[in-house]
Amino acid sequence: MIEKKMSTIEIEQLYDLIAEGIDKAGPDKTGLFLAKLSLALANLLGDSKAVADAVLAAGRDL
């Protein structure tokens, strides 16, 4: 299970921010935008095990 580390208010703000980022990137570049965002966040997190767990969790129920 991924631990909840942020308040719902913070998550909601980031939810809107990321959604705007996707809309700005446009349909052709959505995948690229999200891949870049994932790499940036993985680097900022600085925790390989946590990133690997997140990759596993994101891959479920697609």
Binding site: M1, K4, E12, Y15, D16, D23, T30
Partner: protein
């Protein structure tokens, strides 16, 4: 213009739930009104189905809650489903001290019928049907309405107009007022069907059902075997296509088969709806006061329409009555606009978030929503995003009517300035609001210790003895332990409460001078700036 002067100081335009409630609320303070309704009968336009606890508390203040309780279906939980799995269950919080559950399902036709019954019996309320407002003309002294009726036109001059004429408000249009905010592109069908279905009263939400991919469905039980079904249309589909009988029938059957209730049903009503988060930036325009959907258009998610409107009405009515009766400065009405515009803006922000989740307006919001749903099958960290944030009473913490902020901050808990009073269960069928709520006027709660009334408290009682307006004093002895703890009170604590049951000042130790000052502030006589 100089029209008929009916010796009624207030005309309310619109006999929907908000207009009717406002008329009853004004009448509590002895203020008569003329209620003008364009239709020849109770309205058929909108169909609210959920009243919140706060709305019921307001109806209790008006002394009219009983038929609602007898007819309505109370509920307190909701469940959301995705890919056949229950992914979220929400128990709406409620306190053992509350009289009502968080939600009560009841059709708008009953809400209007009951309120209308009380209005028709009230000698201070003059209801006129078939009255279409065609002009408004106001100056410093009065406001005159041009009214078109089946018997011809006439003019009506009053001191104040309350516009409660709904989302398509004629008054708003005549004043050329524009709303700020956002409209959402997603469109929904709302349908009421009559069907014998044996399921409990709760909010059911289905995301991405097989028959309507990417969209969602809401199902609510109503009294009389009526069921509300609400689903988003595929993008690009028109209203006409969506309401085409064969397609509608097929989709309703799909919903019924999804909830495993393939029963006989009849369609009662259906319409197409889209969400808005729009509000006027000012609810007071000279002698015209806008309220409910006439002042703002809020999304359906979170049952905000009628419940926000009833709070507007409850905020406005006592202030207008105080001004009409000469008990308060006219500036008291400015606080109506300040408090309720702020409430509407906060509701727009929150309702906007719900709307972006329920009906994503763009590819980005849709992708994020789908990601949350997908995670919900295996992870918990995003579950709170599925909370649908039901309408709740607004906290007027920034209100200009609040006084003595330092004394307020000195409390550890209790009910802070601006917050709605909290109910207390005193005995099996006896709640604090039963006594407090039904008396129109200000309230003083004085917490008295074992030694009885101290000189301070006696002076406060004396200082509030002969005011122009009603103020009800409630002495609370230490054996009222629940009330003491809920209000973080100790002997000598005093709470001052507005007629709409929001706290506007409180002290651990009050003195009569400060109580009188706080009352002046709460009636619009704000002298010498902030009293904190």
């Amino acid at each position: 213009m100089d029209g008929e002067r009916p010796a009624k100081p207030v005309a309310i335009v619109g006999a929907g739930p908000i207009g009717l409630a406002t008329a009853l609320d004004l009448a509590r303070f002895g203020v008569p009104c003329v209620l003008l309704e364009e239709d020849l009968q109770v309205s058929e336009g909108s169909r609210a189905i959920v009243l919140t606890r706060r709305s019921l508390e307001i109806l209790q203040q008006l002394g009219v809650d009983q038929p609602f309780i007898e007819k309505g279906l109370p509920w307190s939980q909701g469940r959301s489903f995705y890919q056949g799995k229950e992914i979220y269950k929400m128990l709406m919080p409620y306190d053992a001290d509350d009289r009502y559950l968080p939600g009560l399902n009841i059709q708008q036709q009953y809400i209007e019928e009951y309120l209308l019954g009380y209005c028709e019996r009230h000698p201070l309320i003059d209801i006129r049907w078939g009255q279409r407002v065609i002009a408004i003309d106001q100056d410093d002294a009065a406001v005159t309405l041009g009214v078109d009726t089946p018997d011809g036109e006439y003019e009506l001059t009053v001191d104040w107009i309350v516009a409660a004429d709904g989302g398509r408000s004629t008054v708003r249009k005549l004043l050329r007022l524009r709303m700020e905010g956002r409209s959402y592109p997603g469109r929904f069908v709302i349908a009421d069907i009559k069907a014998k279905i044996d399921l409990p009263t709760e909010r059911l939400c289905f995301f991405d059902p097989a028959w309507n991919p990417g969209n969602n469905v809401l199902v609510h039980r109503q009294p009389d075997d009526m069921w509300r079904i609400d689903f988003r249309l595929p993008d690009g589909e028109t209203e006409q296509q969506a309401l085409e009988p064969a397609l509608l029938r097929q989709r309703i059957n799909a919903v019924l088969s999804m909830i495993e209730q393939e029963v006989e049903w009849q369609l009662d009503w259906a319409t197409v709806y889209s969400a808005n988060t729009l509000t006027l930036g000012e609810f007071v325009h000279g002698r015209v006061l806008l309220t409910g959907d006439a002042a703002h258009l809020l999304p359906i998610f979170g049952v905000r329409g009628i419940n926000t409107g009833l709070q507007d009405s409850n905020n406005l009515a006592w202030k207008l009555a105080f001004v009409v009766n000469g008990w308060a400065e006219r500036s008291l009405l400015d606080s109506y606009s300040q408090e309720r515009v702020q409430a509407a803006r906060e509701i727009c922000a929150e309702g906007g978030k719900r709307t972006r989740f329920m009906t994503p307006p763009s590819p980005g919001t849709r992708l994020l929503r789908d990601a949350v749903l997908s995670f919900s099958l295996s992870e918990d960290f995003l579950k709170d995003l599925m909370h649908w944030r039901t309408s709740r009473p607004h906290d007027y913490r920034d209100s200009a009517l609040n006084a003595f902020a330092e004394a307020d901050r000195a409390f550890d808990g209790g009910v802070a300035c601006g917050q709605p009073l909290r109910n207390v269960k005193l005995a099996a069928h006896d709640h604090l609001f039963d006594t407090i709520g039904s008396k129109a006027g200000f309230h003083l709660m004085l917490f008295v210790g074992d030694e009885g009334l101290t000189p301070d408290l006696q002076q406060i009682l004396a200082a509030t003895e002969n005011l122009a307006y009603p103020i009800h004093r409630l002495l609370l002895a230490p054996d009222q332990a629940r009330t003491y703890s809920k209000y973080a009170a100790s002997p000598g604590t005093v709470y001052l409460i507005r007629p709409d049951l929001h706290v506007c000042a409180r002290w651990h130790r009050a003195n009569p001078r400060e109580v009188v000052q706080a009352l002046r502030r709460a009636t619009g006589f704000a002298e010498g700036g902030c009293l904190s």
